[in-house]
């Protein structure tokens, strides 16, 4: 079916407006939706024109039956706090949590640790575990900036800790 230029222009205008509302979707999905829409418009136009050359009024009628471009907006979904943080952010948070735990331990139980035998293990186990977990998660999210920061920070904390205890 031959499509006259004014008709094609109207189709392109509609697809451009839809494309603007698909901007938040992955490019592959947006392209796939636009291909399907163009194909649907052509089919509907051929149906309506029934053998004759489609007129601009035909395409207007076809587009009027279709969803408005605004309705192609991706549903707004608030990302969960964990998603916003990312794996790298989580690794860094765990590393810092280890330091916070150690600080609290020293502040609250400091006097008790001084008078009891073998306090090092109780003090060092939580922070060491946190740093090891942070390094593992940081390596897993190495592509993220926070992942790299977490690995460096956790390694530094471990090395300083080892230096202080030995």
């Amino acid at each position: 079916m031959e499509i006259p230029a004014p008709v094609q222009k109207k189709i392109d205008e509609y697809l451009d407006r839809v494309a603007a509302h698909l901007a938040n979707r992955p490019p592959q999905e947006a392209r796939s939706i636009l291909n399907d829409l163009e194909s649907q418009i052509q089919e509907a136009l051929a149906d309506r024109a029934a053998g004759r050359e489609p007129a601009p009024e035909d395409v207007s009628a076809v587009l009027a039956e279709m969803d408005a471009p605004e309705s192609f907006d991706a549903p707004a979904e608030a990302p969960s706090p964990l998603k916003r943080l990312g794996l790298g952010g989580l690794a860094l948070a765990i590393s810092l949590a280890g330091v916070l735990i150690l600080t609290i331990q020293v502040a609250v139980f400091g006097p008790w640790y001084r008078h009891s035998p073998g306090p090092e293990l109780a003090l060092l186990l939580p922070i060491t575990l946190c740093q090891v977990i942070a390094i593992i998660l940081g390596v897993m999210s190495w592509r993220e900036k926070l992942g790299k920061v977490a690995v460096i920070a956790a390694s530094a904390i471990l090395l300083v800790g080892l230096g202080l205890t030995s």
């Binding site: 079916m1 499509i3 979707r25 999905e29 796939s32 939706i33 291909n35 399907d36 829409l37 163009e38 194909s39 649907q40 052509q42 089919e43 509907a44 136009l45 051929a46 149906d47 279709m66 969803d67 408005a68 309705s71 192609f72 991706a74």
Partner: protein, 133 residues
Amino acid sequence: MYHYCVMQSTSLDSWITQLRKGLLDVCILNVLAGGESYGYELIRRLREVKDLSIGESTAYPILHRLKVEGYVRVRTAASPAGPPRRYFSLTSQGQRRVREMNAYLTQLLGEISRLGRTKGDSRGNPGPSAEED
């Protein structure tokens, strides 16, 4: 009183919207269970279900997701009308999924409809009347 009615209507609308959203996948998969279909034809079939209010902006993103999830496959073939048609069809995984969905829906609707009957039937009375509501 007016405020109460508006609230009732809004909550019903919101319930219907949620229910429709949940049914869109099963509707699309059921159309494709009848054989492969291209976009224009698929949308026309879906629009036959008046209360579903499904259009292109809903159907095509779902079709894309179903393709990514492996339930639907797409093939492109020449069309007499214009650009090549994209035909959608179910994969074997999609056929299994639609069977499971239909079986679950049938079971669920059966159990829901039994909920209203059980009390009245078991005691030999018709249950609560409409006036009591």
